[in-house]
């Protein structure tokens, strides 16, 4: 058995496999299928300061090798999370990480401040990249100065590991990544979904209630991989790679391109036990190639 552990800021992950926010609920939804403690980190559903009903139905469209979603950050707000959800997940023996979303800097700051007080939440992932909400944070994620503003403000109140989730819907993602690093982020995760659209030709109408939505799934992998490669070269903080990872081989590719850890999102819908299979697959790969630690393949791409 190779050493699969990696570090992200102060986080120690038993293996580099994490789950992407919005695809794994609060973890409990998948406990019948996988041993949650065998997952390096679970990033729970996007949490905002106030309750959000999200967008109207329909919120989903299947696309070639992928899907579009327009959920719109439906969640019951951070107070509900603290009172009702945190007690149910705090004893799950892995890194339970909260994805924090908002539409104003003060909202991010207040939400992060509340979560900072929760002993069993060792990190947050700051979502400055949701494409499905008007001012859903993506406004902060598409410019270096917007990113700096929100990351600095949150860094002031949030003392644990701060991961910033980046949007791919930008001209130069490395510029945003560098701004996040300079503003105090411990890590960046990328990519969030790509803005896309689906049309129902027979009905001459958009499929999604919001017309556009966030694209994910196998189809986005080459774009995600390219962005992870670029960002890993541009920053000195650990990069968490995600976007279209469907199996262990994809995960290894992201790590070779420079990711310290990876997240699995849409693939959870296709195989609810995929997370554990990916970490087992990474281990097999390491053993087959004679590596003793997964750290040896991070950024080991030969070009």
């Amino acid at each position: 058995m190779a050493d699969l552990s990696v570090n992200i800021g102060n986080l120690k992950l038993c293996n580099p496999v994490m789950t992407a926010s919005g695809t794994f609920g609060y973890g409990k939804e998948y406990e019948d299928f996988v041993d949650l403690e065998k997952i390096g980190g679970i990033i729970v559903k996007g949490t905002t300061l106030h309750h959000r009903e999200g967008n109207p139905y329909p919120r989903m469209a299947e696309t070639p090798m992928g899907m579009l979603n327009a959920v719109g950050l439906q969640n019951k707000g951070v107070d509900y999370f603290v009172e009702h959800i945190y007690p149910q997940i705090k004893d799950i023996h892995t890194n339970m990480i909260v994805n924090v979303s908002g539409s104003a800097v003060e909202d991010y700051v207040k939400t992060a401040g509340i979560i900072n007080e929760l002993d069993h939440i060792p990190a947050i992932e700051l979502n400055i990249s949701c494409p499905n909400v008007k001012q859903g944070g993506m406004a902060f994620g598409v410019s270096a100065c917007g990113c700096s503003e929100v990351v600095k403000a949150v860094r002031n109140v949030y003392k644990k590991t701060l991961i910033v989730k980046l949007s791919p819907n930008v001209t130069d993602i490395t510029e945003i990544a560098r701004a996040a690093e300079a503003s105090g982020a411990d890590s960046v995760s990328l990519i969030n979904t790509l803005l896309g659209m689906a049309v129902d030709a027979e009905k001459r109408r958009p499929v999604l209630s919001t017309i556009t939505g966030g694209m994910s799934g196998a189809a986005v992998k080459p774009i995600a991989l390219r962005m992870v490669w670029q960002v890993a070269k541009a920053v000195n903080i650990p990069v968490i790679g995600l976007g279209g990872i469907m199996g262990w081989k994809d995960a290894v590719e992201f790590m070779l391109a420079g990711a310290t850890a990876i997240q699995i999102g849409t693939a959870n819908f296709i195989d609810p036990a995929i997370t554990v299979k990916v970490s087992e697959g990474i281990n097999d790969y390491l053993e087959r190639h004679g590596y003793t630690s997964v750290k040896d393949i991070i950024g080991a791409l030969e070009v």
Partner: protein
């Protein structure tokens, strides 16, 4: 109820007619407990237009043969591909998902009507069978475009009285289920329904107008099937709820339908 990821083996794939197949699947071990109204997420392999699993309701569970049945209407690439499975093929299934129909507390006093439209008759077979097992006498009101779309009638007839409607009048009364004369002549205490949304809305209207308890089974487009992605939401008195996790069965009192 515990959910499982299972590789099931196809025992039979029966073509009911051009647009429907009945697929029977088994497993080396006893199948998990399943409730009428629950569904499965079935993996379709191989094509770039069938990326996600397909939610299909459980049609019937044959405990004697350890088989679960799925009635599949061929509507798109996924269901068309699923319809080509052959005996011995492996089908990867996540089940059982969602909540089943509420079973009556005092079976001797309840006269249930099970209303199904098109492929929406599928969960009514298992529900009818469970009600009979409990000592209930369910009646079935089944509707379709024409006689060839009325499926599994021989199975329903073994469970109780069957009333039918067809839009073209080729079998039973002509028209929609909610126009059937039985709704004027008989009195029911509980209505369960599954089918096209306009049909369920009409059934719900009838139930509400007559003060009858009514549960509907919804089939909103979904991805995860377990309440994680929040794609398949329905508007309810508690806000957006997931059809996959909080449903697919809802009491009509919970829904914000204009009825």
């Amino acid at each position: 109820m515990k959910k499982y990821i299972l590789d099931l083996v196809v025992t039979q794939n029966i073509k009911l007619h051009a647009n429907y197949v009945l697929i029977k699947l088994t497993h080396a071990n006893p199948l998990p407990e399943m409730l009428p109204g629950q569904f499965a997420e079935i993996r379709i392999d191989g094509s770039n237009t069938t990326f996600l699993r397909r939610p299909i309701s459980i049609n019937y569970v044959d405990k004697a043969t350890n088989e679960v049945w799925f009635l599949v209407q061929l509507v798109g690439d996924g269901t068309r591909k699923l319809a080509t499975v052959k005996q011995g093929d492996i089908v990867n299934v996540v089940m059982p998902l969602g909540n089943g129909f509420t079973m009556p507390r005092d079976v001797t006093k309840v006269k249930p009507l099970l209303v199904g439209g098109g492929v929406g008759t599928a969960p009514m077979l298992m529900l009818g069978a469970e009600l009979v097992k409990m000592g209930c006498e369910p009646a079935f009101l089944l509707g379709a475009r024409s006689s060839k779309d009325l499926l599994q009638l021989e199975h329903f007839e073994r469970l109780g009285k069957v009333y039918t409607t067809t839009e073209d009048g080729s079998m039973g009364e002509k028209g929609y289920v909610t126009q059937h004369s039985i709704l004027h002549t008989d009195r029911f205490d509980m209505i369960y329904t599954c089918g096209p949304k306009p049909m369920m809305v009409s059934v719900a209207k009838y139930a509400k107008a007559h003060g009858i308890e009514c549960e509907v089974s919804l089939e909103n487009k979904m991805a995860c099937g377990v309440g994680a992605c929040l794609c398949c939401v329905e508007n309810t008195d508690e806000g957006h709820l997931c059809v996959c996790k909080e449903g697919p069965v809802f009491n009509i009192k919970k829904l914000l339908w204009q009825i």
